[in-house]
Symmetry: C2
């Protein structure tokens, strides 16, 4: 073909991707000295009392606490004021508002008048409650725009600063939020943020949890931007129910990337149901799932699907010893668990490390003769009689330079034995610089589990969760792996007999499987005569039992429209095939009517499985056979119901539906063909393999035809 | 087209699918009275001593226990004999062999001579240990064939009968295997079977665990067949490391189906790594993953991927109140958890039930005004102040006739509050006939978790695991769901201006995006002249700003080879389009060179996302755009690296590789085109949407051309 001359298209670098967003400086909000509470209470167990207690008893602000509440009197603990206007002239960093919704706007006005820079509104009853609430939110937004006051909330659990121990929250759990660490948490709702803190309560912990509920002013992008520049935060974990400021989110993700902070993100609304539930909760836009995922990928954030994954991946990324490569070791004491772990390594497109010979020798010296010392390592239960041997193996494997991380599946709880294993894993974790990733597979969470949990190793509950988290925490975490290299399956033709297409089709026709009318021509003029008598256009195909893939040797010509074309292509075929395959006996050239593009191309095959015997396959045909591999299988024989189910199982079954100007496909004919193939093969035990590719499935009522066929049989018949 | 007349193909019912397999009667093996132990020991904590203790102390056989061990003397507990030949004349049902490998065959010969019908060989050192071991296995197999002795093992943990309390095993855990129930367990290895028993140690329990290690004679198919006919077993849970008797497995699965016993199965070897590990453990064939899965589906078994799924699905299927429909309710006290659960319902192709008006009214009466009383139900944390309200809601929802099961996500541990929730869930579970499925999302496993666990409710640790198990345990469990109905996205064209293809292509050409040479012809003869001057074959396309999808109104003709054909098709187009779209203004017919089949068709589009702004999409084009939807996205603008990443992210990226006689695609040209489109759109803020479909991407060096284009813009320009 001759394409028209391409226009020269020089490549230019992309312009700056998004206009720079200026994020507010939140340091006085996050690390306030003087704090004002508007509201508060002394009633035991009330949210107001818990807020005051968190601030007065469990926090370390180094500043003063002011309480504005007309119905509270001062005492030795709290100094109370009637109104904000009455407060003495101190510089207040944050006002925490906990009055009912109708009073919030007035309180905020007073704060703005007093030049308090930040207010955290915990009260509910705003956008989430209906029209009146949305009106009040608009009022807050207008106040912010007019005065420069920045508002966090409303309808939020407050702000928890674990690193500096400042609990601007009414949560009774704050007193136990003591495991500070390098993870920053951004959420919108309260329950899920609490979940994340509980997930980070041992081992690697959180520095800061920001959760601004309805996000009427400040929101997730501002918090991410703050954490991106906070030197104590190494990883940012984000749970989003909705995204209302898409461009700002992008700018914040870019900022995090600039500062080398990994971001792990979970976004609700992956299904239509999730979108609906998220909307009713936060009122912010859910955004199309695919676009959200694409944005996260584009700007370097790792996306996860569930809360436990969010905790696990953040943990791995924040660990001082992150996985150093995609090559993993598996160490266990059960052959089954070794197999399952290896399986999951493969499923998640990770690799099993290859141990150095030193490693293998040390393992062999330490373990029984029948232990598996190649990766995956099965030390066997015998080896557990001495826990030193187990610890030695674990240490040896973790120190092998090819190993990026060690997965340790514990198949069941064996009381004292697994108690000791838990302890050994904790010990070795302190001695090596690779992540040890224990997976506690049993529902019985014994002492071994608890030891590891208490020491912050956070055993996974399933291998798929562990391997998925490792995959996402890998150096090239978010990157898509290229699809596994495709390998064409070689025909197991050793000692088998193939018959040429014309003979194969004769046998099919005898078995009542429809084939196109065809003539095996021995010369160009025989071929041309046959074509004229059957009508144009026609197809020519070389006929030779030695040639299984005719296209590849230039043995097929499609869509020939004249006797002249048939004659010249006949000669070309003989010449070309003769040159490329001098070994092949050519029986002639098969002339057939050409089937048009209104049909669907389908593949039907039979092969012999070593375990189950002969298996039939149906799938989409043509070039897409090998590309998409959309196929389904059944053990032979099958009936019409099986055949229909096979078709229904295809991922792209919709290809048979009407599409634009193509009517629906003749599926009843395809079903009949499949059942006939089944019967034919069952009647011929000598058939080892056969392939009809393509089957042309016409529009409804026009039948299904085997356009090409290959049969491989044992030579007994 | 005229297909040749189809051959009449009457449909005949499928012949019997597999030759009937006669399975051995295992009742004397499973429920023996008199048992012989060959081996045994008195050394504390040895396997031999534990086996004897399990039989003598913790089992209830109602028969006698004989011990053959030349180095053990009789005492008050065990009567010992020097050899099998010395035994008194009692009818022995099973011999348990625990001597070292080299002595096993002789012991089995003695058993056969004594007409003992079954032997369980626990000793290791056989096929798994190497050549010598495989030779001994062949010897055992020959002995079985010659004598009728049936052997279970070797290299196995024995046989655990919980229902009748017979522990033919050396496991120290047998004494605590007391939670008998309706599940039959078949495994090959020991550790994973122990895992399953621990998973079933509360609530629904197991009746029988059979695990024959190397399966030299009896194996998984025999055990499944036994369980299929055992009246106390309702569900069979199977973990296979390898399948060596495929046809027998099929026969056993069919038998289970005939007896109405659901089968849940997990098969190792889903990845190449898993296959390798499984082979080293059991030496049996792993079988191709897809064929195994197809066999399980064909014969009605539910396949799962992990051990915890195996336990969870078996539990749900064995429950007296199985899920009654695919329509689920979600009850929780956190908006975020409600959203996540709803999301997972959608992802797993399940549905949210629609509550009756009675249900909604009762919920409204019991809950605060701002609670969500439609499914998913968010009772709000407020409602937890009275646990009666929570229990009432749960009961009401579970009794709604549209609800098949209730998912209850608990987002975090709230000490006393979640302790009470756990108790309430246990209480309500006893009052309703639908499954309550609690999901404990927090890593902190508090009192609420423990209460539910102890009462056998087995809370899930993640929503995806819970919904996946529910999906598999549904009445039509294994069945494949039809792909979700496809909906073509409507153009958001309200108030927008579209330009015709010729104009759109002009604009692209100005932006240095390559387009085919084309002429907008106003008459048949103008079209024919244009075609002659550019060379055949050509394409004709109607040009009208009102017609976005030209093919659908008969406005496109491909592959025209003569001036005559161009003239006649021009007239047909005008006539046809005029009749179908009398509203459309026709600017003429575009004549272009036809691009051939050596190129790949790609779609490039831009749309405006409500959250992120303009987004570019690349994907496979042609008919497969809508069928496969293999696309990737980026927020604009993009540079060449982004463009290449977009291409690399396509699932079927391999379509661009060389294939048979097609050379590799000109990806650098596609990359340039994507970057140019980005620049073009960035320079034109008025463009809301555009689509180039197809882009023809030629073989290497031949460029990429926009063969069709549509631009939608705001009318400001």
């Amino acid at each position: 073909m001759n394409p028209v001359a391409p226009v020269a298209v020089p490549v230019t670098p992309a312009a700056p991707e998004v206009p720079e967003v200026g994020f507010p400086d939140l340091s006085r909000l996050v690390q306030p000295r003087n704090i004002l509470v508007v509201g508060g209470s002394r009633r035991p167990n009330s949210e107001g009392a818990r807020l005051l207690e968190n601030l007065a008893v469990h926090s370390r602000t180094g500043g003063e606490l002011f309480v504005v509440n007309p119905s509270m009197e001062s005492d030795e603990r709290y100094t109370c004021w009637r109104s904000i206007a009455d407060l003495p002239p101190a510089q207040i960093d944050v006002a925490l508002i906990m009055v009912r919704a109708a009073l919030v706007l007035d309180a905020l006005r007073d704060c703005a008048a007093r030049r308090i820079p930040f207010a955290v509104v915990m009260s509910s009853g705003f956008g989430e409650a209906g029209e009146e609430g949305r009106r009040m939110e608009a009022g807050i937004r207008a106040l912010c725009a007019a005065t420069g006051l920045r508002v966090y909330g409303p309808n939020c659990p407050g702000l928890t600063n674990l690193r500096d121990r400042i609990g601007m929250t009414f949560s009774p759990a704050f007193r136990t939020d003591i495991n500070a660490g390098p993870i920053g948490i951004v959420t919108q709702g309260g329950g899920s943020g609490r979940n994340l803190l509980q997930g980070l309560s041992h081992g690697i912990g959180a520095a800061l949890w920001m959760s601004a509920g309805n996000e009427v002013d400040l929101g997730a992008p501002d918090f991410i931007a703050h954490m991106a520049t906070d030197p104590d935060i190494r990883v940012i974990a984000i749970l989003l129910e909705g995204v209302s400021r898409g461009r700002d989110l992008i700018a914040a993700l870019k900022l995090a990337r600039q500062h080398g902070k990994p971001v792990v993100i979970m976004k609700l609304g992956k299904s239509e149901y999730g979108v609906r539930a998220a909307q009713s909760h936060t009122g912010s836009l859910a955004g199309a799932t695919e676009v959200n995922s694409a944005v996260f990928r584009q700007f370097g954030a790792v996306e996860v699907d569930e809360l436990d994954d969010l905790v696990a991946v953040a943990r791995l990324l924040a660990s001082p010893c992150r996985p150093s490569s995609r090559r993993l070791a598996v160490v266990t004491f059960s052959g089954g668990a070794a197999g399952m772990a290896a399986d999951q390594v493969g499923i998640h497109k990770l690799e099993l490390a290859r141990f150095g010979s030193d490693t293998v020798e040390q393992l062999r010296a330490a373990l029984p003769a029948y232990a598996a010392v190649e990766n995956p390592v099965d030390v066997t239960s015998e080896a557990l009689k001495s826990m030193e041997a187990f610890a030695l193996c674990l240490r040896t494997v973790a120190r092998d330079p090819d190993v990026g991380a060690v997965v340790i599946p514990v198949p069941a709880d064996y009381a004292a034995v697994t108690d000791a294993i838990g302890k050994a894993i904790v010990d070795v974790a302190g001695q090596v610089d690779k992540p040890l990733v224990p997976v506690w597979l049993s529902r019985r969470l014994g002492g071994g589990f608890e030891t590891m949990e208490r020491h912050g190793l956070a055993p996974f509950f399933s291998l798929s969760k562990a391997l998925s988290a490792l995959e996402k925490a890998m150096p090239d975490g978010g990157a898509t792996e290229g699809a596994a290299a495709h390998e064409t399956q070689a025909h197991a033709s050793a000692g088998l007999v193939a018959c040429n297409e014309a003979v194969a089709k004769q046998r099919l026709a005898q078995a009542e499987i429809a084939v196109p009318r065809g003539v095996l021509a021995g010369s160009p003029s025989e071929a041309a005569d046959a074509a004229v008598s059957m009508g144009f256009p026609v197809v020519l195909k070389v006929a030779s039992p030695q040639i299984l893939h005719k296209t590849e040797v230039g043995g097929v010509r499609l869509n020939l429209s004249s006797a002249e074309a048939v004659r010249s292509h006949y000669e070309e075929i003989i010449e070309r095939v003769g040159a490329l395959r001098p070994d092949a006996v050519i029986d002639g050239v098969l002339v057939e009517r050409m089937f048009d593009g209104k049909g669907r191309e389908v593949l039907v095959g039979v092969h012999t499985d070593a375990v189950y015997g002969r298996v039939i396959t149906v799938g989409l045909g043509g070039i897409f056979v090998e590309l998409i591999k959309d196929v389904s299988h059944r053990v032979l024989p099958i009936g019409p119901d099986d055949a229909m189910q096979m078709i229904d199982e295809l991922r792209y079954r919709r290809v048979f539906d009407p599409f634009r100007d193509r009517p629906a496909a003749d599926l009843p004919a395809l079903v009949r063909l499949l059942v006939k193939v089944s019967g034919f093969v069952m009647a011929h035990p000598e058939i080892v393999e056969m392939e009809i590719n393509p089957v042309w499935v016409g529009p409804e009522g026009e039948g299904a035809f085997a356009l090409d066929a290959l049969i491989l049989a044992t030579p007994t018949h």
